[in-house]
């Protein structure tokens, strides 16, 4: 074999953290980071980001718009551990302490193209009323030791959470060499457009 096939496939994600709906809160900012498996590595772009603080729009929608760009490229050899984007939204409480307003997670879409995702967000809860009061009073809401916890299933059974708000994300996904390595993720019709030859010969 003179020219061996590709040894990795690439996944390019760009897009943005567009906006959020948090009916009760204002002046929020968000952080994002990616959680991915062992066989994945970022090759370009930022894995983590922290956005500006935004206030609610004055119109009816009361949207919090960040339009915070995401641009990152991963390489991998194994679809196991597909990247997930973890979002955590923070904002001030009545005393002006920064407290967490929501955690959320979503997998980067598998198929190439443009995807819009709306993620429901949640926060961990205190276990008792007294603790709730204490944490409110102290200005320290319970929060995850590591936001990446929300991308894992392990250890979640000990927590209790409350849902609040939504964040809308936009992804543009481009993949390279996935099909060559035998992973078929795209929709059927996109195959015909990108490849002029009949699909049988494309696979191997």
């Amino acid at each position: 074999m003179a020219a061996p096939g590709p040894s990795v496939f690439l996944l390019m994600v760009n897009g943005q953290v567009e906006s959020a709906q948090f009916p009760e809160y204002d002046d929020l900012y968000c952080k994002y980071c990616f959680v991915y498996g062992q066989d994945w590595a970022p090759t370009a772009g930022l894995e983590e980001g922290i956005s500006q603080i935004t206030s609610k729009s004055q119109d009816v929608r009361r949207a919090l718009v960040w339009n915070f760009p995401i641009d990152v490229t991963f390489k991998s050899t194994n679809p196991y551990g597909w990247p997930q984007i973890v979002l955590s939204v923070y904002g001030p409480d009545v005393f002006g302490n920064d407290v967490v307003r929501g955690y959320g997670v979503v997998h980067v879409p598998f198929s190439p193209g443009r995807h819009k995702r709306t993620i429901p967000m949640f926060v961990p809860e205190s276990t008792s009323k007294l603790q709730k009061f204490t944490s409110w009073f102290m200005g320290r809401r319970p929060e995850y030791t590591d936001p990446k916890v929300v991308a894992q299933g392990e250890g979640r059974e000990v927590t209790r959470v409350r849902s609040q708000g939504f964040v809308t994300l936009l992804f543009n996904v481009v993949t390279k060499d996935m099909r060559k390595l035998g992973y078929d993720t795209g929709p059927v019709d996109s195959q015909g457009i990108s490849v002029p030859t009949p699909p049988q010969s494309v696979l191997w």
Partner: protein, 1357 residues
């Protein structure tokens, strides 16, 4: 056109609001009834009128109102409301309907959607093939299949009468079955017996409680049986009813159509019922019974009286048809020979079998009557037939194919061939929908047939398959001689549209008799056949199972049964039989067992290729991507599996390579070698081989046993959610609250800084580079100083030379210099400390004097292998943290020929003085190590002496002489603190149940409960009550303790000095190599070997060492216990506690050191648990440091004991052997090792000094060699006088620094590492010479004490 240009998606706000306006929002206010109902109508509520209305599902009123409002907006919305004004709704959302069978869709199903049924897992036909091999001579078997005939119970060509007839027949059959069973009669008998018994009991009533009770029981039974009886009678009756009804329908049908096409006839017989009057029994039960029967009689009489039996009157009306049908009939007669079979069923009706003992005379008649009827019935049928003329011509021919399947085992691919063996001739359908074949097929077999399949075809215009019939294989006993016809039923859901007045199949039709009944019948029928094994000419049955084998089977069963082994179905559960046979160890030569052995042999032979599983997922292979072998071959898959199992520590890839070719084979080799190291030990000496072997053995055993222990690791809330721990308990919460409130009023500036707790970090959130180990070196005490004598000489020499040089310049100053140097020389030592971890070395500044103070903090970088910072992988790290004290020595080298202008170089050399070592795991466990520790100093430090100024590290301590000890004050911690996750191991219960040697379960349970209780009180204290032994069986720790003999040789050395002997024993134990166990395994489910095992393998963990030492002490009659606790430096430890007359001694089995209870430098930090051969004690004193603990374990307020004083059954047999037999160590092997070590060390020394030449001083080496053997047992003077003098001579020319290192022998590498740690090779002084001597002192059982004496010599100038 690759690019698509589109405007950005944008939604106008105004449009958005407009959209909002368009949305209809129904109000949720209730709607008045007038709006919902047609005008001028009041709601009608059915329930109020007394109708039963099913309860409707509950809907919220708001929702309901909304819906109503919404419906009212619609034009036709009102039709949704019921008369009551509510929305129409069903009581249950599930629609109850029956839409099965009728396949109205004309177009055939999409072929892709068709269900294809695959065969279930194939059970190979091994028995038969094996049998062939076993017997050999007879290989052909023969099955005789006689296909007799076919009778349709429904056929598309049936007319309505025939349908009714079939039904009647069915009912009759059912009735007959019931008659045979005769349940009512049985129940009646029972009732009778019960009433009799009651009567009897009543007569003797009032005797006692018992009879009353039984009487009650009788009554209860009577009423029960009565109910049953009534029920049965009811059933009989209803059956009769339906028969009667069908018959009536038939009759009316016949009447209507004007002919009969079936010869059937139902006859009811009236019965005399005068005799049926019950005897004058006064019992209530009987009475009710008889009333019932009377009632029945009454009904029957009425019905029978309505019957008209005679159809004969109708005969003449059919005469007209007769001529028409003549021709056809003749042909029919020819075809059907069996036609004449009487099909009319006469019936003697016994409505009440109860009283059938006296059958009235008239009941016998029907038989006679029947015969008479037969003829007329036949006639009638014939006459009636012609109307079916057209349809008869359509009647096809049936053909039965016999299809015989069997497995072709020999072929590579296992496949099922459907082989058509033969087919019957085509037989025509007869008039009464019977087909006669009467053909016998002889099927010769080689393999065991899997299925025998008959296919029924109908040939009319084209051939269609009606049904497939699978015949069961006959049992071996069924021979040709006694063939009985068997019936197989079949049915076919083919759709046949009726054409000429027939009924069709799978098409609904109305039965004319009672127009409401709609029927839909499927073609169905019965095939009669007989299947049996054939006999050959000699009358030997051609069955596959030989008689001899069968007898073997049975005799085995008999024998086995006789021995009372549980689990009789051997033939099913052979596995158990093998186990049993193994257990009992039956004598294979005993003729009594011969057949059993034969059977076992046979089953073993057979079992070779029978899969031991029953495949439930028949479709599994459809879902497999690739075959199993291919999967196994895939290297990538293997690697993934290994990684998933967490066993890929050696080869940690960041990425899994995509292709197999990119994966080096090396990975697997490494992994395998990790498992089994004993591949490459061919060139190693036997003792080393033994070491490697035993280490591997232990690892393997550990892994095997750990497999059987289920571990559940759990996260705590505090691991996941922060902020929790601070508000953990209510008390601290309130404190926090008040604190927070106070903070508001508090003054800004705080004068008193308060200590803040460090935040704990969950291990799984830590990433690379986050962790550091902080080691703070505070100060040291009593560091040895350079020997003044030597120094003086050197200094003197040096100064003399200096003087000589500088005489002309400054003579006065030289004197001062001399004085000064002498004063300084008193206490000259320039110690510094090196901290090394994971091959990285950190160094403090150099201080001065023998009580230096550094107060330096060293941040040691920490890298977890594989960048995995989860707790489990952290706890696997076995690296030690070494803290070495060195003396920095500056040596000025003056070139002789050089003038004063060139002042010469200053060379730095460091001399090792001692070290403190602790494992990383201890740090991880305790989160900090803080205190003053005794430095491990070699017994002799050449060139150094103890400092004259003694400073005690603890002011209040004035115990034994500690002048010859060095102490170091350190503080070490991991930054940030890592949370210690405890895992809850749950040992599987089977392991304890299965074993024979284990303690009784209740004792184990008691131990578990005890442990749990103790943990509840003091969660941080260690308690071990049960452990696993090397077979994975859970046993009590107390069973490890038993007096055991130490090696004879050791006892002989100090015959009279018992204390010295004890020390020697402790030393012997400490020389057994120690295997560190990882933290997470350590928790509650430890595996301990017996002391004998420990000695013979020459390896052991902390507890095994302690147990061994304790057992030896017990041998001397000492009061000794094993103590579990924690030590500052070592983490979890096991010590041995001995009780002397006035004090308690604590022995560290790993070092052989003995501490008094009140020794402040005893590293033991907590005393948690004690155990001996009889009991386990848990420390429940508040303070558990050894100094504060009361060791009097008999006091229950201080020590909680596992067993109460006189508890039965704890004196279980110890698992230790009676005595240990020691073997001598092979001297030549020891010599070999010694030479190896020496050679390797010399090579290494040169390797470590790549820039300088390494010279060996032979003279010094020989002196050291002589000194070394004395050190092992050296209690008094180390050096004899002549050696001293020799040394003196040497010291004339050299400055000598050196020390012996002693260690147990594990492997060569550990010796090399220890030498490397001392840094003796790092001397840069140009003409340094080295001396090295190795000595190995052998103890029994290949336990060796290695001494390495190292010295570096610097020539005086």
């Amino acid at each position: 056109d690759l690019l698509e240009i589109k405007a950005a998606e944008y939604e106008d706000d105004q449009e958005h609001t407009k959209k909002q306006a368009n949305i209809f929002m129904p109000s949720s206010s209730p709607v008045a009834n007038q709006c919902k109902l047609p005008k001028d109508k009041m709601p009608r509520i059915l329930e109020d009128e007394g109708f039963y209305v099913q309860r409707k599902p509950k809907i919220y009123i708001k929702t309901c109102n909304k819906m109503e409002n919404r419906l009212l907006k619609l034009e036709e919305g009102k039709c949704w409301f019921e008369e009551s004004g509510e929305i129409m709704s069903l009581p249950s959302p599930i629609r109850q309907s029956w839409n099965f069978r009728l396949n109205i869709r004309k177009e055939s199903l999409n072929p892709a959607l068709k269900t294809i049924y695959r065969k279930k897992a194939v059970k190979y036909d091994l028995e038969s093939s094996i049998r062939n091999k076993m017997e050999g001579q007879r290989e052909m078997y023969q099955l005789d299949l006689n296909i007799v005939g076919l009778q349709f119970s429904h056929h598309p060509l049936f007319n309505q009468e025939q349908v009714l007839c079939a039904r009647l027949l069915q009912l009759y059959e059912c009735f007959q079955n019931r008659q045979q069973q005769n349940l009512p009669h049985l129940l009646y008998e029972k009732l009778k017996a019960l009433t009799d018994a009651t009567k009897l009991a009543n007569e003797h009533s009032g005797i006692n409680q018992l009879t009353r009770k039984s009487l009650q029981d009788y009554y209860w039974q009577i009423s029960n049986t009565k109910q049953l009886y009534d029920l049965e009678r009811e059933k009989d009756l209803s059956l009769l009813h339906s028969m009667l009804r069908t018959w009536k329908q038939m009759k009316s049908l016949r009447k209507r159509q004007g002919f009969t096409s079936t010869p059937i006839k139902l006859q009811f017989q009236r019965e005399e019922n005068q005799d049926q009057q019950p005897k004058a029994d006064s019992y209530k039960v009987e009475r009710s019974l008889s009333r019932h029967s009377l009632l029945l009689e009454h009904i029957l009489n009425k019905q029978t009286s309505l019957e008209v039996f005679h159809h004969g009157g109708r005969l003449p009306s059919w005469k007209g048809f007769r001529s028409l049908s003549n021709r056809l009939l003749k042909r029919q007669n020819k075809l059907c020979t069996e036609n004449n079979k009487p099909l009319s069923y006469g019936k003697t009706q016994h409505p009440d079998q109860l009283f059938s003992e006296r059958v009235p005379d008239r009941a016998v008649n029907p038989g006679v009557k029947l015969r008479g009827r037969e003829k007329s019935a036949k006639l009638r049928r014939r006459k009636g037939f012609p109307t079916l003329l057209d349809s008869l011509s359509l009647e096809g021919h049936l053909k039965v194919y016999l299809i015989f399947r069997h497995e072709q085992k020999r072929r590579a691919k296992i496949q099922n061939n459907d082989k058509q063996v033969s087919c019957t001739s085509v037989s025509p359908l007869q008039l009464d929908f019977k087909v006669m074949f009467q053909q016998i097929f002889n099927i010769q077999l080689i393999y065991w047939p899997e299925t025998i399949c008959l296919e029924v075809y109908e040939i009319s215009k084209r051939t269609t398959l009606l049904a497939k019939l699978y015949l069961p294989l006959p049992s071996n006993a069924e021979l040709k001689s006694k063939t009985v016809l068997e019936y197989v039923e079949f049915s076919c859901d083919k759709l046949v549209i009726p054409a000429y007045g027939e009924v069709g199949s799978n098409v609904p039709f109305l039965l004319e008799g009672n127009g409401t009944e709609e029927l839909c019948l499927l073609t169905s029928g019965k095939l009669s056949y007989s299947l049996s094994w054939a006999l050959d000419e000699n009358g030997v049955p051609l069955t596959p199972m030989s008689q001899s084998l069968r007898s073997a089977y049975f005799s085995v069963l008999r024998n086995v049964d006789a021995r009372g082994v549980p689990g009789i179905p051997w033939l099913i559960n052979t596995q158990k039989l093998f186990e049993w046979a193994n257990e009992v160890r039956i004598d294979p030569n005993n003729p009594e067992y011969s057949d059993l052995m034969e059977f076992i042999m046979y089953m073993k032979h057979k079992g070779q290729d029978i899969p031991k599983y029953f495949r439930l997922e028949q479709l599994q292979d459809e879902f497999n991507f690739v075959s199993e072998e291919e999967m196994k071959k895939s290297k990538r898959f293997q690697l993934l599996q290994l990684r998933n199992a967490g066993q890929l520590d050696v080869f940690l890839l960041q990425h899994m390579p995509l292709y197999d070719r990119e994966i080096p084979d090396l990975v697997f080799q490494e992994y395998e070698s990790q498992i089994e190291k004993d591949v490459s030990i061919s060139d190693v000496n036997s003792i080393t081989a033994q070491r490697i072997h035993s280490a591997n053995f232990l690892k393997k055993m550990r892994r095997l046993i750990m497999k059987r222990i289920v571990k559940v690791s759990r996260f705590n809330l505090s691991d996941i959610v922060t902020d929790y721990e601070e508000i953990m308990s209510a008390r601290s919460e309130i404190y926090q609250l008040t604190h927070a409130i106070c903070k508001l009023v508090e003054r800004r500036r705080k004068l008193k800084p308060r200590r803040k707790e460090r935040k704990k970090l969950a291990a799984q959130t830590v990433s690379h580079g986050d962790i550091k180990i902080l080691v703070r070196i505070l100060r040291a005490y009593n560091i040895p100083t350079r020997k003044t004598t030597v120094n003086r000489k050197q200094k003197a020499g040096k100064s003399r030379r200096n003087i000589r040089h500088k005489e002309t310049i400054k003579s006065v100053a030289s004197g001062e210099l001399l004085n000064e140097s002498q004063i300084v020389g008193q206490d000259t030592v320039h110690p510094f400390v090196e901290v090394s971890f994971q091959h990285t070395v950190y160094q403090t500044n150099t201080s001065c004097g023998s009580h230096p103070c550094w107060n330096e903090e060293i941040g040691v970088d920490f890298v977890s292998p594989g960048h995995d910072y989860s707790f489990s992988s952290l706890s696997k790290i076995k690296d030690n943290i070494y803290i070495n004290i060195f003396d920095e020595m500056m040596i000025e080298n003056h070139e002789d020929h050089c003038l004063k202008s060139c002042s010469g170089h200053t060379y730095v050399r460091k001399n090792w003085l001692g070290s403190v070592v602790f494992p990383f795991s201890a740090l991880l466990q305790q989160s900090e190590i803080n205190g003053t520790f005794q430095v491990n100093i070699p017994p002799i430090l050449l060139g150094y002496t103890w400092s004259k100024t003694y400073v005690s590290p603890k002011e209040d301590y004035n115990g034994q002489n500690l002048k010859e000890c060095t102490f170091l004050n350190i503080f070490a911690t991991i930054e940030p603190q890592i949370a210690y996750i405890t895992s809850n191991p749950e040992p599987d219960k089977i392991s304890s149940k299965k074993c024979k040697f284990s303690d009784q379960i209740d004792v184990l349970q008691r131990a578990q409960i005890f442990k749990k209780n103790c943990k509840a009180v003091f969660p941080n204290r260690r308690i071990t009550t049960t452990v696993f032994n090397s077979e994975g069986i859970q046993i009590l720790v107390t069973r490890y303790i038993k007096a055991l003999n130490p090696p004879r040789q050791l006892l002989d050395i100090f015959l009279h000095d018992s204390n010295a002997t004890l020390d020697l024993i402790a030393r012997f134990v400490s020389l057994i190599p120690f295997m560190p166990d990882t933290l997470d395994e350590n928790d509650g489910s430890d595996i301990w070997m017996t002391s004998e095992r420990c000695i013979s393998l020459a390896i052991g963990n902390k507890e095994e060492h302690a147990i061994l030492l304790c057992n030896f002490f017990l041998y001397f009659g000492k009061k000794a216990l094993v103590l579990l606790g924690t030590s500052m430096l070592e983490g979890h430890v096991a010590y041995v506690l001995t009780q002397e007359t006035d004090e308690y001694l604590l022995w560290n089995p790993l070092t052989g050191q003995c501490h008094k209870q009140f020794d402040p430098f005893c590293p033991l930090q907590s005393v948690d648990c004690l155990f001996d051969d009889g009991n386990v004690w848990f420390n429940i004193q508040q303070n558990n440091t050894p100094m504060a603990v009361h060791f009097d374990y008999s006091k229950e307020s201080f020590w909680k004991q596992l067993f109460p004083k006189n508890f039965q059954g704890i004196k279980a047999q110890s698992i230790q052997p009676k005595e240990i037999i020691y073997s001598d160590t092979n001297k030549s092997m020891v010599e070999d090792i010694k030479n190896r070590i020496e050679r390797t060390l010399k090579c290494k020394m040169m390797e470590w000094r790549p820039k300088q030449p390494t010279r060996w001083n032979r003279q010094c080496t020989s002196i050291l060699r002589q000194m070394l053997p004395k050190l092992e047992l050296g209690t008094g003077t180390f050096v004899s006088s002549e050696e001293e003098s020799e040394f003196e001579r040497l010291l004339q020319f050299y400055w000598v620094a050196g020390f012996p290192i002693q260690m147990p022998y594990i492997d060569v590498q550990s010796v090399i590492d220890a030498v490397y740690q001392t840094g003796i090779h790092s001397s840069e002084f140009p003409r340094t010479e080295f001396a090295l001597a190795v000595y190995i002192h052998p103890y029994p059982n290949n336990i060796l004490s290695v001494w390495v004496y190292l010295a570096s010599l610097a020539r005086h100038q």
